[in-house]
């Protein structure tokens, strides 16, 4: 445990999260994954939006960018395209990524830009006290769905895959070993990678829906899931209504910033004098 403290800005602790919240579990899995991968701290930029989950980056000792609601992936796109050598990791909530930021999410997937997006999906808007989110299941309660949610939620992993993400996985805060493993793979994947971490918000979602406290809410999540490998061996009726966890999609496809660098190289070969005469200072930094 102690060795991971070096990844935290200890002067910024204690954190703002409620007792029993899953955000710490996901943040812990992320830090352990980075530690095992042995990536230099100075080469990682963490970007988040607005929400309880997005507060995670403020506690972490990297270059960290806490942006506006829904826009983390757009800011991250600028970081990554400007400096492709950096590892860019986005931490976002289900409201942040699937409601207000849904468009940036699908377009980043479409571009296959090398950004790892970790979505902490707690079925609700935690920061604003439990309103319905695009991930609140049909029929469940939220403060803005007091009679039960009449809308349907996304399957975020299917959405990411359909939009062009090249690595897609899902785990839960119960399956934290799996979560760490999937985050690791996502970080090492070249292209747009998404890990959906199903997580508990006992304070708002658990209580409002009378599920119980942190443990009951965690178990409620766990009981809905089934590992994708185990599911493959089951007849369809046994998979009915279950949420798949594990690695769901992993393909190779040329990555956006690498392709852009190839364009630059090609254009500069065709315009050698232009590139030499008008070379912009600062572009040396940018040769990666």
């Amino acid at each position: 445990m102690a060795e991971f403290l070096s990844y935290f800005r200890q002067d910024r602790l204690p954190h703002i999260w409620c007792p029993g919240c899953g955000n710490g579990t996901v943040t812990g899995a992320l830090v352990r994954a980075i530690d095992k991968l042995g990536i230099d701290k100075n080469n990682i930029v963490m970007v988040s939006g607005i929400g309880c989950s997005s507060r995670s980056v403020g506690y972490l000792d990297f270059d960290t960018l806490h942006t506006t609601h829904g826009r983390a992936i757009a800011f991250a796109t600028g970081v990554k395209l400007a400096r492709p050598r950096l590892k860019v990791i986005v931490i976002t909530g289900d409201g942040d990524s699937a409601a207000i930021g849904g468009n940036h999410f699908i377009h980043a997937a479409r571009r296959n830009i090398d950004i790892t997006t970790i979505i902490i999906n707690n079925d609700t808007y935690g920061m604003t006290s439990g309103q319905a989110s695009p991930m609140t299941p049909h029929g469940m309660l939220g403060t803005t769905a007091p009679y039960g949610n009449v809308e349907y939620n996304f399957d975020l992993c299917e959405l990411a895959k359909a939009a062009g993400a090249t690595y897609v996985a899902r785990a839960t805060t119960y399956h934290y070993v799996l979560l760490e493993e999937l985050i690791s793979k996502a970080i090492m994947h070249k292209g747009f990678s998404v890990v959906e971490a199903l997580s508990q918000c006992p304070t708002y979602f658990g209580r409002k829906n009378k599920i119980g406290g942190p443990v009951e809410t965690l178990n409620w999540i766990k009981d809905q899931t089934i590992n994708v490998k185990a599911a493959a061996a089951l007849p369809p009726e046994k998979r009915e209504g279950k949420i798949l966890i594990g690695e769901l999609h992993n393909v190779e496809k040329p990555e956006f910033t690498q392709q852009y660098l190839e364009v630059i190289a090609k254009v500069q070969r065709a315009n050698p004098t232009y590139a030499r005469n008008k070379g912009v200072p600062g572009c040396e930094l940018n040769s990666d």
Partner: protein, 377 residues
């Protein structure tokens, strides 16, 4: 390489100046009458090793620019009214977090979709107060194609120096007009460079003189490992809701730009010293205004012209001084009196400030301004 004369469009001049100033990153979304800037960046930036991206909307565009700027890249976006409205939340973010970014707004008539290909100057107040909360911002208004070049270059200098978003308020006429521009010899200008801290040891990302100081900005990815947040923050970049931290930050930011209003003043003046009537304008409206003022002068009337190039922060004292002899003031502008409000404030309430507003999508004809001058004399 010597100076070179070239026939070019205002939008082209903005782009060339940006590249000359070291533009490394452009993110944008197509919108008339600004699109040529994006198109030209798509073509030119790779030649100098820079990056262009067409984002999914203007919110994404400005957000990507801010992200790029945090890594040390000079970043710019270009848009028009509807897109500029979408960018406002992120402009506030850049303003609070002190991230340099240049935004070219080639104004068109609105609100809403308005008349997409017709000029206007209706975003003057939006450029100042478009985002929520008090915040510093600088806005420059070119009056011809040459100034599109000069002021875009200047926008980068100011943005990097004061770590503030700088808006170039162009308009459809200036953006699409073609004029001969003598490009400055690269040997004769200095590419703006962002001041950097010396080393990560003890780096405090927001440590600065509370009296309007500018903190030193470390690029991401260089070992500084700092936290950038749109929450109010202390000098270490840590979020804070302490009243004294909030107040210190907000007042420093306001002071950083506000206290430099007169120093940043930039304008064109003619015949103001002995004038009885002054015409105050900006951008393309000022072209018609100047020709009307000269005609009135040639007929023996004591009329002077003031064309503002820096509009935000508004150089109140400078404007008051320049207008001291005028007994009446006319403000031609392609909106219903936004610049006139500031001019009234600067001139004081003892002399009439006549609003000559136009919002029909047409530019001013010198005759219209001349008629207003004759009527006022």
């Amino acid at each position: 390489m010597a100076e070179k004369a070239k026939l070019m469009q205002g939008n082209e001049a903005c782009t060339m100046a940006a590249i000359a100033a070291g533009l490394e990153f452009f993110a944008g979304y197509p919108i008339t009458p600004s699109t040529e800037i994006a198109e030209m960046c798509a073509e030119e930036l790779p030649k100098v090793g820079g990056k262009f991206i067409q984002m999914e909307d203007e919110i994404g565009s400005i957000s990507a620019c801010i992200g790029a700027s945090l890594t040390g890249a000079k970043a710019m976006t270009a848009t028009s009214g509807p897109g500029f409205s979408l960018m406002q939340e992120a402009i506030g973010y850049a303003s609070l977090c002190e991230i340099p970014v240049v935004i070219i707004n080639v104004q068109r008539v609105g609100p809403s979709t308005g008349m997409p290909t017709s000029p206007a100057q209706g975003d003057l107040m939006q450029a100042r107060w478009g985002t929520h909360g008090d915040h510093p911002v600088i806005a420059l208004v070119p009056g011809n194609v040459k100034e599109c070049y000069e002021l875009t270059f200047r926008a980068f200098e100011l943005s990097e120096k004061y770590r503030v978003p700088v808006i170039v308020l162009s308009d459809e006429v200036i953006g699409h007009m073609r004029e001969k521009v003598v490009l400055p010899d690269p040997a004769n200008y200095k590419i703006p460079v962002r001041a950097m801290p010396a080393s990560p040891a003890g780096y405090k990302p927001y440590a600065a003189d509370p009296n309007g100081g500018v903190p030193l900005m470390a690029p991401f990815g260089m070992g500084y490992r700092w936290h950038c947040t749109g929450l109010f923050h202390d000098e270490n970049g840590a979020p804070s809701s302490k009243p004294e931290v909030a107040s210190t930050l907000m007042r420093r930011l306001e002071h950083k730009v506000g206290s430099r209003a007169e120093e940043l003043a930039d304008y064109f003046a003619e015949g103001l010293d002995d004038c009885e009537l002054a015409v105050v304008s900006f951008g393309s409206s000022a072209m018609a205004a100047l020709s009307a003022v000269r005609r009135a002068r040639s007929e023996g009337h004591k009329v002077g012209m003031l064309r503002l190039k820096t509009v935000w922060p508004f150089p109140t004292k400078t404007v008051r001084g320049l207008l001291s002899s005028a007994k009446k003031i006319i403000v031609p502008e392609m909106n219903l009196g936004q610049l006139a409000l500031e001019v009234e404030r600067a001139a004081g309430c003892d002399r009439p400030v006549i609003r000559l507003g136009k919002v029909n999508g047409e530019l001013f004809h010198p005759d219209e301004v001349f008629a207003a001058i004759k009527e006022a004399l």
